[in-house]
Symmetry: C2
């Protein structure tokens, strides 16, 4: 393993992105996401994603420099056209108006269109909670996941993220794929030569498999059976056609076998408890703390707890990157 | 089994509710929900619920006649105070303004406060889809469900419902408890003397059980492990404190051991694809049909398919009610 400080990681990621022609706003925004993933111990959303970003660029499937365009399209709706670039800049461009609308209207949504998405969703939910908002985020991906009762890929890994602001504490945030496992997780098993648990995927004939490559080439499964499958369909619909953007099947068709990152839309909903509750907001948000205490008080964990613990550790001691991955990234500096 | 037409069922339910002093708006609205549940083959949300309604009234835990009060509380927020009555009338009172706001603002929310909730959520989602809206609904219940990694009840069964309008077809709707099974389902197993599957509940010491009564007295489990548990927490927060209403633990405390229906809030979010997409809406909604075809085309089912099939059959041939339940209801006519 290679030990690096977070500053080292940021410098390396930015240098690679710059070297390959990303404009400075995209360099900053994409690097911030990758460093945040590595910092929080989300290995499958950290530096591991960088080679995929460059491969997507080389395949002509992401713009290195398109500037996002913001549309105030209805009193409670912001739309941002990412013009084929990574989603991060588009999110930052649309967020101020989303926050303003949530605060004035009570609830508002941000639809990002024509973006390339490779990151976790919590980096987009967390800044909204820092502004006192409750937030939800959704995005389709590539058609890799079979619906419950089926055997052929149709849904993306279709993550759902949720954030809740807490006074003087890190926000309550969850962010999970509606597939049983993230695709990156299965790929990390493949790289490590480890079998995957039963229930993550099936082969091309619909038979259960523990071989990561067989699952990647067959179909992934949703979490929680028909309920997870229903949620995957919902993400497909509300962050696809509802905002005028691609389904996971359409994204995969657009990909043309280049194995690039998914292309399409992202939906973010923000709600302002202050606007709903007025002077009573602080009292009610304080009551919510009993829910968290009820979880922690019986020895269970909050969804982002491991992430926040990893964050403290990484900020103090840095992170460790597998040597093979480090060398793969070094090679991108000269390629 | 007792055979009844849907008209017979409606007449019976209305007569019982009237006999116990519910005002006519509540008689109509509550009966409509119960008949719809029975009609759609949702046994645990049909006539089976009627004795519970009357028991809740007798325990003094629901108002038989409070008129809901509607507040236009922000440009995209409607609040309805149910004043302690069942949720149905409050929903009908708030729905027109919710629809109007969703159409003008793009996205809007309806918060129902201080309502008693015993029904499924799809009866509230379906009418929104009939008005061309995409809808989400959430409500906490009583603290019956342990968080993942814990053993003590904290969450309610905390259902999530989603509806998507389809041209010339019944809407795509799902509605499920974030618990592994609905509490009514476990109770129906108890009544039938049948064991429950492993994974539905645990005993007071946190050990897995297949005995329905042991699970009802211990803790129910969430579906899908830590992901279902995270969703249960979300429902607890957004349909509880975020709208100034009770958590499932607070609802159970309010219950004072009377085994009444849960008391608290319900959150409904409505989004108008027309407002987001304008002239392009029909084209994008048509693309969504490929998702449904992708599910059906591989032999999998849509979430509400069984319900719609049962509906057609019930409307033609009526329904069958277990004799013991029928007699329990007949007794309510003279008690």
């Amino acid at each position: 393993m290679i030990h690096m400080t977070l500053e080292d990681v940021r410098h390396l990621v930015e240098t690679v992105l710059r070297r390959h022609g990303f404009s400075e706003p995209h360099v900053q925004a994409v690097a911030a996401t990758i460093v945040a993933g590595e910092r929080d111990g989300c290995t499958s959303h950290g530096v591991y994603r960088l080679p995929g970003c460059i491969a997507t660029l080389r395949a002509g499937k992401v713009s290195p420099d398109a500037a996002p365009e913001v549309f105030d399209s209805a009193p409670s709706v912001v739309r941002v056209d990412a013009h084929g670039a990574f989603a991060q800049c588009a999110f930052h461009a649309g967020m101020p108006l989303l926050v303003e609308k949530a605060r004035s209207q009570g609830i508002a949504m941000l639809a990002i269109n024509r973006c390339v998405h490779f990151s976790a969703l919590w980096p987009e939910v967390e800044p909204l909670t820092e502004r006192g908002l409750v937030a939800l985020a959704f995005t389709p991906s590539h058609a890799w996941v079979a619906p419950a009762g089926g055997i052929r890929p149709l849904f993306g890994t279709n993550p759902i993220a949720f954030g809740w602001p807490r006074a003087d504490k890190p926000p309550f945030i969850f962010d999970f794929a509606t597939s049983a496992a993230a695709r990156g997780e299965i790929d990390l098993h493949r790289r490590a030569g480890k079998p995957i648990p039963l229930g993550w995927g099936i082969d091309k004939d619909g038979q259960p498999t523990t071989d990561p490559l067989t699952a990647l080439n067959g179909a992934m499964l949703t979490f929680g059976g028909h309920k997870g499958s229903a949620l995957a369909a919902m993400v497909e619909l509300i962050a696809g056609p509802m905002i005028g953007d691609l389904t996971s099947a359409e994204s995969l068709a657009f990909d043309e076998g280049t194995k690039s990152s998914p292309y399409g839309g992202e939906l973010i909903i923000a709600i302002d408890p202050q606007r709903i509750l007025g002077a009573e907001a602080a009292r009610h948000l304080q009551r919510a703390e009993a829910v968290f205490e009820g979880i922690l008080g019986q020895g269970a964990r909050l969804p982002s707890q491991r992430r926040y613990e990893a964050r403290v550790l990484s900020e103090r001691e840095g992170v460790r990157i597998p040597r093979a991955l480090y060398e793969e990234i070094q090679a991108l500096l000269v390629a």
